[in-house]
């Protein structure tokens, strides 16, 4: 395994890369708070729509919602969630329902972990 591979592996297993997020948000805590609160409100809705799309075997919508989840998770520094959503988007393109269903619980568990960290941050920052 090369150093780059190792870094990538560490990166995708990180539930929340706070430092990278703050760097991108110019260390502006007000912006960070707004985006975190929006994510906490919006992500469950997106995950619900994704769940429905999987049940309906609607690959176009699976791709659309996993792409959207990938985007918002990456803005937040939710590296692990971003990586799984990205994989799911690729599986949707290939219409590979088995792999979509196999990665879905991982994505949900990663969201729960990220959600817990974000709520803890919002409640205890001040």
């Amino acid at each position: 395994m090369t150093d780059d591979d190792y870094s990538e592996k560490i990166m995708v297993s990180t539930p929340w890369n706070y430092e990278a997020m703050m760097e991108r948000m110019l260390h502006n805590t007000s912006i960070a708070d707004t985006i975190i609160k929006l994510f906490l409100k919006d992500a469950p809705e997106q995950l619900k729509k994704l769940n429905n799309a999987i049940n309906d075997e609607n690959f176009k919508e699976i791709r659309q919602y996993s792409h959207s989840i990938k985007g918002s998770a990456s803005n937040l520094g939710g590296e692990a969630m971003r990586s799984s959503a990205s994989d799911m988007e690729q599986f949707a393109l290939k219409k590979d329902l088995n792999r979509i269903k196999s990665i879905h619980p991982t994505l949900l568990a990663q969201y729960n972990e990220l959600e817990e960290l974000l709520i803890d941050y919002v409640e205890n920052r001040d």
Binding site: E23, I35, L38, Q64, H67, K70, G71, S72, N75
Partner: protein, 131 residues
């Protein structure tokens, strides 16, 4: 500066809005269809956008189609693409392969997601929209 943000993802949209609000009047569209309508109105009013941040992958009309449509509308108003709105396409880093040569000629820059405030302002400086 008059700015149009075209983005279906809520967090990306709000981040762009937060970073750009200090630079001028900022409008928002959530898909390519709305973007084309906003541009059409701005051209009718002879008050075009200086900057359009355009997401590539969106439902309904995607960013590529919207880009083409916007340049066609500008052309029908006698505006050359070099003199039209500065259009920065936004896309996830692992989707950059979606950016094809033909579209590169129609837009002015690219911004890889996640949205990064420093990179965004750097792009605006490169396009000479801010100092």
């Amino acid at each position: 500066m008059k700015i149009l943000i075209v983005e279906d993802d809520l967090t990306s949209r709000m981040l762009l809005l937060e970073f750009l609000r200090d630079y001028g009047q900022t409008h928002v569209a959530i898909n390519g269809e709305e973007a084309a309508e906003a541009v059409s109105i701005s051209l009718e009013q002879k008050d075009p956008y200086d900057l359009i941040c355009l997401d590539i992958m969106m439902p309904k009309v995607d960013g590529h189609e919207a880009l083409k449509k916007i340049r066609e509308m500008e052309e029908s108003e006698g505006i050359l693409s070099t003199k039209g709105s500065k259009i920065v396409m936004t896309t996830a880093l692992d989707d950059l392969k979606n950016v094809t040569e033909s579209y590169k000629n129609l837009c002015d820059g690219y911004l890889a997601k996640p949205i990064d405030g420093k990179k965004l302002i750097g792009e605006l400086k490169k396009l000479e929209l801010v100092e």
